[in-house]
């Protein structure tokens, strides 16, 4: 933590960055995103288990880009999101100073190559709780799974917290906001909710970095992250690729192999 603060102060003092985006204390036990814009504010930065938000979601925001070059505190999921954003050309190599945090250790990564190398050393594992939930879903009958999601989606109000918290949902014009044609109803009724979550899942298949922020963001506790994570795992199982690993675009659904294996097409 001290090393992080020290480096943050240096970066700000030398003018290498205009802000250090990290975590600070929030309401109660919560942690929140914090932009330290002066060396004097660096003291507010904290780093602990409660720092879960994927700050990469801010990297593509107009308001943040306008600040100038930013340093970003990046736990593993944030690192994956950042490299995926670079792969999708939403960030340029060197746009950000990446302060990679791995189990308390800080490492500054100056380039996409360094980030890629850094990520290659790590195994990506699913959260134990999510694994259990996914297994539970898998074990359900189809009818029960349908009922389960219908029940969960009945609380959805399309606040789009899941979309807006997602680092990969950076589109200027989201499908949900397009109305010519109006593919997905705007209204948050049953079919509108179902189609929204289907579209969100498909759009993130092969792109989801499995940070789980969408699920954490949901104010009514719908585990929407299970959908994107399971889609991402499907892509991995079927095509052996993972989002958030390479700085060059490697999107499973924009390519193919002539021997892709399936067993359901008649």
């Amino acid at each position: 933590m001290e090393a992080l603060k020290q480096r943050a102060i240096e970066l700000l003092e030398k003018g290498e960055v205009k802000a250090v985006l990290g975590y600070a204390k929030g309401t109660g036990q919560a942690r929140r995103a914090f932009f330290a814009r002066q060396p004097g504010q660096v003291d507010k930065l904290v780093l602990d288990e409660a720092c879960t938000q994927n700050l990469a979601a801010y990297a593509t925001k107009h308001e943040v880009k306008k600040l100038g070059r930013v340093a970003i505190v990046a736990p593993p999921a944030t690192q994956r999101a950042l490299i995926q954003l670079m792969a999708e050309r939403q960030l340029r190599d060197g746009d950000l100073a990446i302060l990679a945090v791995d189990e308390g250790a800080i490492k500054e990564l100056g380039s996409a190559a360094a980030l890629e190398e850094h990520l290659a050393l790590k195994a990506q594992g699913l959260d134990a709780k999510d694994k259990t939930l996914l297994a539970k879903l898998d074990a359900m009958s189809r009818e029960d799974r349908w009922a389960y999601w219908q029940n969960e989606f009945s609380r959805c109000m399309k606040c789009y917290a899941c979309r807006n918290s997602c680092p990969m949902c950076y589109c200027e014009h989201c499908t949900m906001d397009c109305n010519r044609p109006q593919w997905v109803p705007v209204a948050s009724h049953s079919i509108g909710n179902l189609e929204y979550h289907m579209v969100r899942t498909m759009h993130l298949a092969g792109r989801c970095v499995e940070c789980g922020d969408c699920g954490r963001a949901c104010p009514v506790g719908i585990p929407v992250h299970l959908l994107t994570i399971s889609a991402e795992e499907t892509v991995h199982e079927l095509f052996g690729q993972r989002a958030g690993a390479k700085a060059k675009l490697d999107y499973a659904l924009s390519t193919f192999k002539t021997d892709d294996k399936e067993s359901f097409i008649r």
Binding site: R32, A33, K61, M157, R163, N164, P185
Partner: protein, 337 residues
Amino acid sequence: MANTYQLSRESLTSLFGALRKDGRRILAPVESDGRIGLGEVEAPAQVAGDYLQTIMSAKEVAFPKVERLLSYTITPGQVDLKDAEPKAAPTVLFGVRPCEAKAFGALDAVFNWDYRDKFFNARLEKLAVIGLSCTKADEACFCTSVGGGPADTAGSDILLTPVADGYLAEVLTEKGTAILNLASDLFKPGNGVDKVAVAAKVEAAFDQPALTAKLPGMFDSEVWVDQSLRCIGCGACAFVCPTCVCFDIQEEADPKQGERLRCWDSCGFHMFTLHASGHNPREVQSARWRQRIYHKFSYYPQRYDQLGCVGCGKCTRACPVDMNLKEHLTEAAGVTA
């Protein structure tokens, strides 16, 4: 002055029975998977026990997240319009917090200040509110900073305040009296309990009248930009808010028939004010965040002589990025213009 009674804990079962016998559904906070939400109940035992607040507000009882405004059928050269009638079932909201009960007044202000909104009115007319005073509060609560309080009676038809062996029941309105008359034997004479002593202590965080007075002068303050930098522009705050009333009207149709739906909307969304031309009067998130604050704390008072905020703190609890309204208002109140 309200008529004050004593209501024993046990008598609630009979009260619920009497309400249901009268053909009313009872909505109350219930727990499901650790979340507190409004649900239909038959007996007091189904009501959540030691809850602070529901995640969602009770506004959806009068202003649902999706409702039909009209429908129509189309045949060549002809359109047949059909008016929609809100399904307004006689409903008792039991156990909502005083802040939320009060919020119906802010909704009413918008829905009826000029043209009258029959959908909201039909539902509100059938609604009776049995509020429940708060005996605890959390860091998001700030009712006392916005003219409310943990045992405030505004908006409740009957307000219950938990006391040792039951409730102090203040019967406040005609609707409340009607409920009392359904089971008048349950309502025993009051014993003069000091409800303020029982209610939660919520310290005032900021001087709201002073804040409201200074907002017009600090429109261009950097404080809105600073605060909103971490806002991700979702609609969680607006959708859980008991007073947020902004809505969208959406058409859903086939070539032969269609309907017009009213859906919740949020001033925090980029699309909210976007013109067809591409011009957007509130282009950046800071302008949208400012609108949210100003609408509630400056425009509402100017227009409706009341605030558009009841200090329930739901927005703060729901916010995925911890935008704490109380804290941000306190900060704004401290800005020297």
